[in-house]
């Protein structure tokens, strides 16, 4: 298809415009993500109240001019807490996706490039890590590591790392056979240089697709861990923890306690899923429509 051919010298704006026209849903996802990034960066400016300050006189207040989305059982402003929750969600989501992609990427690259017994052993280890449901492993890990933001990032990135390793390995296996790699080898280029300089840049497509797809599940797992009390600790406002026990207790009296944080989680995950799907269709045509 001629329309699919990469323009050699199209400006970034033109590429973006074409993406928006061809993938309206993906563009919508991108817009949602930008909005959340914007919220996270400017949370301090956009907030109407201190997100941590409690107010015993104003607990479980209905949404009003003073508290746009109401207050929780400690009188904290839900709207401001959701803004700051975007920071935690994005930080943990992006952090664990980055750690998982980098770690998985390097493991997949070396495993695929070296091959043989090394590959076999690495693949078995990935099997072990993938043999457990993502949430169960993340749960045990975050309990073992203790509640803190870096620990939550680690607890989420290790369980999703094998997926990155698998995808990069598969793509390395095919790239490895290309003639230009053989040519580089014939020229006496060292293995590490071939792997990182000649093969790695060509795995960028699947890499981006994978990272966007993982972002959604990382945000969701963070929310779930925090909901279960094993995620991000107080005093950081986290969407997941805003829904935990106390919210359930007061849900009937104050439904806004449950509705708004959940909407925030769903929107963030929805946005990254939409974007991830569109990117996959664009960058990795083999998986089109899957």
């Amino acid at each position: 298809m001629a329309a699919e051919r990469r323009p050699t010298r199209a400006s970034a704006a033109a590429i973006l415009l074409r993406f928006c026209r061809k993938k309206p849903l993906g563009a919508a996802g991108g817009f949602i993500m930008l909005l959340i990034v914007f919220t996270a960066i400017f949370a301090n400016v956009l907030q109407t109240q201190d997100p941590i300050a409690t107010n015993a006189a104003d607990t479980l207040a209905r949404p009003s001019a003073a508290h746009w989305l109401g207050t929780d059982h400690l009188g904290r402003d839900i709207y401001s807490r959701i803004l700051h929750g975007a920071r935690v969600s994005l930080l943990v989501g992006l952090g664990s996706t980055a750690v998982a992609s980098l770690l998985g990427g390097v493991i997949g690259l070396l495993s695929g490039y070296v091959g043989g017994k090394t590959d076999l052993v690495v693949q078995r280890i990935m099997d072990i890590l993938q043999g457990l449901p993502l949430l169960v492993l993340a749960l045990v890990m975050s309990a073992a590591l203790g509640p803190s933001i870096p620990n939550v990032i680690l607890a989420i990135s290790i369980p999703i790392m094998p997926r990155a390793a698998r995808v990069i390995r598969a793509s390395v296996l095919s790239i490895r056979e290309f003639q230009y790699v053989e040519a580089a080898r014939a020229l006496g280029v060292r293995h590490l240089r071939i792997a990182f300089r000649h093969i790695l840049p060509n795995t960028i497509g699947p890499f981006i697709v994978l990272a966007t797809a993982q972002l959604g599940s990382a945000i969701l797992v963070e929310a779930t861990l925090s909901f279960l009390g094993l995620g991000v600790p107080e005093p950081y406002p986290s969407w997941g923890r805003m829904l935990s026990v106390s919210a359930a207790e007061y849900a009937q009296k104050a439904p806004w306690l449950v509705l708004f944080p959940g909407m925030a989680i769903s929107l963030a995950v929805f946005g990254s899923n939409l974007l991830g799907d569109a990117l996959r269709d664009t960058l990795d045509p083999r998986l089109r429509g899957a």
């Binding site: 099997d127 169960v136 045990v140 969701l220 449950v258 959940g262």
Partner: protein
Amino acid sequence: MKTYLAQRLGIAALTLFGMSVVIFVLLRLAPGDIVDILFSTGGYVNPSERVAIEKELGLDQPIWRQYMDWLRHMATGDLGKSYRYDLPAWEIIKPLFPVTLELATLSMIVAVLLGVPTGVISAVRQDTSLDYVLRVLSLAGLSMPSFWLGMVIILALVAWIGWIPPMTYVPASENFKLHCIQFALPALAVGYRSSALITRITRSALLEVMREDYIRTARAKGQGERTVIWSHALKNAILPVVTVIGIEFAFLIGGLIVTETVFNLPGVARFLVQAIAWRDYPIVQTLVMFTAAIVIFSNLAVDMLYGVLDPRVRIGGG
């Protein structure tokens, strides 16, 4: 076939063994153990008593020794003793299984009943507005945390009919109707979420199959569109769907953990969360190994099912 099965079983056993090491080490990394927790609730207790309890629970042994003991016990069918309840782990877990199994089965049924037809409709009406709506709906399902979905279902019931499902477990023998409703709600929350992946795979697999020559042949013969889709095309598209259902199973367990907590159902998944919080190692180890075994063997079963569903991939001879 036999050698293949033996090989697969060997790999499964190796994976489980590796998993046991990972889980064991992870749990010992955790700050604080059951003795700390027991003691923090009991106020001051003298140190000699503490040492005695640690000794009784085997926590004074070196870590490799504890691991070997655990393996030996598992091999003989002894799953260890719960630190907290002072009961054999198996005795505590056993009554919880039917609850989780029932919920998992119901959720899977909801997921398949929702996912497969939606996927088919989406594929048949490819790129129409109906397709877009269905795809957005299924993606939305994938994006909503199932615990939140559960809470919203409860809230909606309260708002619309002013009724709330019982928040304590009702056994089927006591009140069958109430029991069914109690399970239907969480099954809906988990099933909707799980149906998303099934929808997408059904859609893409069917789209691929619909392009094949034999479909054109069937149409050329004058077969009705309904027969072509449901009996010619879907039969061949179902293979990837079965794989996903196998994978879904692992995914489902994650959903059960939180929904059992939200709906307060006394299942294994909810119990796992509690056991983790109490650092009740024997229970957590046993449950996690159990989950791993279920996941690994359901994947194996799905692979075996392949041969039954599709003669082309039947593993011959070697």
